[in-house]
């Protein structure tokens, strides 16, 4: 058995889990390559003389005795120019390049580097030789896409004196652009990119409390359950409740600088849908195609399960990297349940003792660690940036008491519960306004009252009161019918219906309605509430309510969300005036009778 080289080799294979011997050749979480095809894997357990490896590719045909090569590095991603607008798989293989090299189907084995080595970048240095460089400091800039200037940082684990830096010019990724001598006289040759282990949080200088809203253009979210920059949100919902459409809407319209979208164990055609849509849609602020600010990670459900587990970390590490340059990054993970199931599958193959529903006991701590990587920070380079995390959850049977939803609820500040009943009436977004919550309301309130409208808080509260009152009345309506209600209660039900149809409901597929900026949200809500308030006058005058709900202005209110973008308050104002005119006329007619 004992050979001099003692090349480690495979001893057992069971699906994506492989064991190898001798264990002392490996370290925990080290990356390895297996067999002639060099399948990529990661060491996840070391036990006496056996190393357990999870393999990110299909293991069919792999045999005991195959060589295992230790890479002496933990699972890492390459961080540098060339990430933007790209689509990677869960272990950062560029899918476009892969298609060019290997065809329409994904084959296994090594495929070259994550970032293109032949592309030329124009680098402009921003520091001078002799300067003292601290970890994470920015060395210079590269224009990466029309929207994004890539600020090249010193890796967070390097510091010292800048011995040399290249002048402004064109470079490829492998060129040495700077040389740093550390205090212990160690020489660091820096390139345009560096590697960073995906499971390690990128360090920052200071963490800030989220205070600004992340506007998503979705009325029910921004107005009722707002998300903050650097915040966390969970979207649970059974299948068909519109999780993915909601995630796509957020990735299209959220006013972040950069979007990282992780398709984790989801449908292949959905990723294709994103790839088809994003180049065609324009960012409402910059008027540039949305794809220019987007990085996609696609590990569809038919791709290897272990890479699904890694995809979440690959995505968040890239997000943190751009955060450190001073960008606001929003990361969508669709779906975290698939990631949790990948954990369960690997855990099952390791024959670990299961906790709830077969999930490993460390599920909660892994989820916590993931959401903890969100935040608004001052980076090592002194820039203010943020990572906002939005995780979709796919509870089995739509049951929110299952482990992944329950634990997610513990760690997120926003909870947007999707409702099956609303979805089956094609009421979208199917966010249940009674079950959902946001912990950022008081944090974002100053922003809204200052920038959008001073009565924001009052409008919001009035609306919520109407909706809550309505849900109480609905219990009666279910038993006795709407006719049984007195007119003042009918007004609430009627008002809530208007709010639901003309404000909360928003079509993702209508070119105007798909995005509603904060001004539009405020103006629209103001008009609707004004109408509901004026209905009180109608009730007081003992005029049957239907006379008011049949007024022509109601059709005008219906139309507002589809026809106006909110950049001009004029039309909203004139509908408001029309409300007063028609209701006054109604009251007047009654008086003269």
């Amino acid at each position: 058995m004992e050979s001099t080289a003692q090349q480690p080799s495979v001893t057992m294979i069971s699906g994506p889990v492989v064991q190898a011997r001798p264990a002392h050749k490996f370290s925990m979480n080290e990356m390895v390559e297996i067999g002639d095809e060099r399948l990529v894997g990661e060491v996840i357990d070391l036990d006496e003389d056996l190393a357990t490896i999870q393999v990110y590719e299909d293991t069919t045909g792999l045999r005991p005795g195959a060589d295992v090569y230790a890479k002496e590095l933990p699972l890492y991603v390459e961080l540098g120019p060339g990430l933007m607008c790209e689509i990677f798989d869960g272990v950062q293989r560029p899918l476009e390049v892969l298609r060019g090299k290997r065809g329409d189907f994904i084959h296994r084995g090594k495929t070259g580097t994550a970032l293109p080595r032949d592309r030329v970048w124009q680098f402009t240095p921003s520091v001078r030789p002799g300067a003292t460089i601290s970890p994470g400091e920015i060395l210079g800039e590269v224009p990466e896409s029309q929207l994004i200037t890539h600020r090249i940082p010193v890796p967070p684990d390097v510091q010292g004196t800048l011995e040399h830096i290249v002048p402004k010019g064109d470079y490829i990724l492998d060129d040495v652009i700077a040389v740093i001598r550390s205090s212990s006289d160690k020489i660091h040759e820096l390139k345009l990119f560096h590697r960073w282990p995906v499971r390690k949080i990128r360090p920052y200088r200071e963490r800030l409390v989220p205070s600004e809203p992340l506007i998503t253009g979705q009325r029910v979210i921004d107005t009722f359950f707002p998300l903050a920059r650097g915040g966390t949100a969970g979207i649970p919902g059974g299948f068909g409740t519109g999780k993915t459409v909601a995630q796509h809407q957020l990735s299209k319209w959220a006013d972040a600088d950069i979007i990282v979208y992780i398709g984790c164990g989801e449908r292949g055609n959905e990723m294709t849908g994103v790839l088809v849509d994003l180049p065609k849609l324009l960012d409402p602020r910059t008027r540039r195609p949305l794809i220019e600010r987007t990085i996609l990670i696609a590990n569809t459900s038919d791709m290897p399960v272990a890479a699904r587990e890694a995809s979440i970390y690959t995505g968040i590490t890239i997000a943190e990297y751009y955060r450190d340059m001073g960008y606001d990054v929003a990361l969508m993970a669709d779906s975290t349940s698939r990631w949790a199931e990948a954990l369960r599958e690997i855990s099952g193959r390791l024959e670990e003792m299961p906790a709830e529903e077969g999930f490993p006991a460390y599920l909660a701590s892994r989820l916590a660690a993931f959401y903890e990587r969100a935040g608004q920070v001052v980076s090592l380079a002194g820039k203010r940036g943020s990572v906002t995390l939005i995780g979709a959850v796919s509870p089995p049977g739509g049951d929110f008491s299952e482990p992944v939803t329950m634990h997610t609820k513990r760690f997120v500040q926003c909870f947007w519960a999707l409702d099956k009943e609303l979805a089956s009436a094609r009421y979208f977004p199917a966010i249940n306004y009674l079950q959902s919550y946001s912990a950022y309301i008081s944090a974002v309130e100053p922003w809204w009252t200052e920038k959008v409208g001073s009565t924001w808080k009052i409008l919001r509260e009035k609306t919520i009161n109407i909706l809550q009152e309505d849900s109480r009345l609905q219990n009666i309506v279910k038993l006795l019918g709407e006719e049984a209600l007195p007119d003042d209660q009918k007004r609430i039900v009627e008002g809530a219906r208007l709010l639901k149809n003309d404000f909360l409901q928003q079509s993702a597929f209508d070119p105007v309605d798909t995005y509603a900026g904060p001004e539009k949200q405020f103006l629209l809500l103001d008009v609707i509430l004004h109408f509901i308030e004026r209905l009180a006058d109608v009730v007081k005058a003992r005029i049957p309510l239907f006379r008011a709900t049949e007024l022509p202005v109601v059709a005008e209110i219906h139309k507002l969300k589809f026809t106006r973008r909110g950049d001009d308050p004029g039309p909203f104002k004139s509908v408001r005036e029309q409300i007063d005119k028609e209701i006054n006329a109604l009251l007047h007619r009654q008086d003269s009778l």
Partner: protein, 459 residues
């Protein structure tokens, strides 16, 4: 190291699994031939392998195997089948791809690994070619497009087979000049059901374009794990190499999942929900995801999988996980079937995720999306009114609510209800939809634009 290795003797037999020790030089997932003393060989696959022990699942079951005398041959290759257009279409095979029609074993074509390979997401073309099925509840409200995977969630005793057969007969996909094929994969269905399909293919004159893979109810359980993969391997070859539009019917996925559970239990794996293995989602995905369209390749695979929901429970792990993978679902409903409504589609939980891109101006008609949404909203409301009416009686309903009741009636009797050979065009379906929604007062039609009502609603 390559080549065939033969061992004599089995160490342990447990359910469909056999354990063989002292095995060297065989790979994970490779095919095994097991030859008992009677000489009739069975096929199997390696489920896990360590330095000296191999665990093998035997597709045809282990009954009759004796420990000392059984010979085990490791073939050194994954499970492959030979596919060519000529030798596959118009034929009937068993669940492992062996001819049942007395014809020859296909040998001329290409050998393909039945596990297939994932399609690179960037190579996929987004499915958006409308398929007219002639069934209003589908075309109007849950439109199917080419390259979609849309399962039918049914219950035992519901007419899912007639319904699927009607889709196959009527789907516009099949009547165009372009090459088309139907691949039928049966897992654990009874003989009669398989015959129903065969007759239906025969009657519509498409039998020469059909390949059937039949694992019937009395065939070995574990064999079922291979059947859908073999069917899809053939489909992929026809679609992506031969440029044909392929419709794959898989029935019944519930039997498939139960076979998977049986194997997992024999292996002593940690179960998750209802005893199904934790990887049920990934395993189902490796089947359902094999549908679609590829850029610059003319063919496509559209998948309709049928599954019977145990106890009509849509939250059971099988329909639940399926719904998370497929692009929607068509749900059949027992109470509708009991009222003799055919097809008994409950539209509320039904959904086609790819609908929005397959309809509208230039594909169906520009009012399609809003009309469909309006019918949904009205029907959802009508169901609430029905519940209310059962409490307070129809008499006490408001005038509007009574109209909703009328809407529900018309919807069931005229829109949903159609004959098994009634083939409606999309325009007929949409016109019918307009007749229904215009039963309601105009201010109730909040999902429709006023100009749409002017153009289509005032007939």
């Amino acid at each position: 190291m390559k080549g065939i290795l033969e061992y004599i003797g089995i160490d342990r037999i447990s359910g469909p699994l056999v354990v063989i020790s002292g095995v060297k030089g065989v790979g994970f997932g490779e095919v095994v031939e097991i030859v008992p003393s009677d000489g009739r060989s069975r096929q199997g696959r390696i489920l896990s392998i360590s330095e000296d022990v191999a665990v093998v699942e035997v597709f045809e079951g282990t009954s009759g195997l004796a420990q000392p005398t059984t010979r085990v041959r490791f073939l050194g290759r994954p499970f492959e089948i030979t596919v060519s257009k000529e030798e596959v279409l118009g034929r009937i095979f068993d669940g492992l791809g062996r001819p049942l029609d007395g014809g020859p074993v296909p040998f001329r074509g290409e050998k393909r690994n039945i596990n297939g390979l994932p399609i690179n997401p960037v190579a996929r073309a987004y499915p958006q070619d409308f398929i007219q099925t002639g069934i209003s509840a589908i075309d109007g409200m849950n439109t199917i497009v080419r390259g979609q995977k849309l399962p039918i969630f049914s219950g035992s005793g519901l007419p899912h087979n007639e319904f699927a057969a009607q889709i196959v007969r009527q789907a516009r996909l099949l009547t165009e000049d372009e090459g088309f094929a139907v691949i039928f994969g049966a897992m654990g269905v009874c003989h009669d059901e398989a015959q129903t399909f065969r007759r239906s293919f025969e009657e519509s004159g498409i039998l020469k374009n059909v390949a059937m893979f039949l694992n019937l109810a009395d065939d070995p359980t574990v064999e079922r794990l291979m059947t859908p993969r073999i069917a899809l391997t053939v489909a992929e070859y026809l679609a992506f190499e031969q440029g044909m539009h392929v419709l794959v019917i898989l029935t019944d996925m519930t039997n498939y999942c139960e076979a998977l559970r049986e194997v997992a239990t024999s292996k002593g794996e940690v179960p998750s929900r209802k005893g199904y293995p934790g990887y049920l989602y990934s395993d189902l995905a490796s089947i359902y995801e094999r549908a679609g369209h590829i850029i610059d390749r003319p063919g496509s695979i559209t998948q309709i999988a049928i599954l019977t929901m145990p106890d009509d429970d849509i939250t059971h792990p099988i329909p639940d996980l399926t719904g998370y993978i497929t692009e929607g679902q068509i749900v059949l409903d027992r109470s509708l079937a009991q009222r003799d409504i055919y097809p008994p589609i409950n539209v509320l939980p039904s959904l086609s995720r790819l609908m929005s891109d397959g309809i509208g101006e230039g594909r169906t008609r520009k009012d399609h999306a809003n009309l469909s949404s309006q019918i949904y909203a009205a029907y959802a409301r009508a169901r609430q009114v029905q519940r209310l009416a059962s409490i307070i009686g129809e008499e006490d309903l408001s005038a509007t609510d009574k109209l909703y009741l009328a809407f529900a009636r018309e919807f069931h009797e005229r829109f949903l209800q159609q004959g098994t050979d009634e083939n409606r065009t999309i325009i007929q379906t949409l016109e019918l939809g307009w007749e229904l929604v215009t039963l309601l007062p105009e201010q109730e039609l909040t999902r429709l634009k006023p100009e749409e009502i002017d153009q289509y609603g005032k007939i």
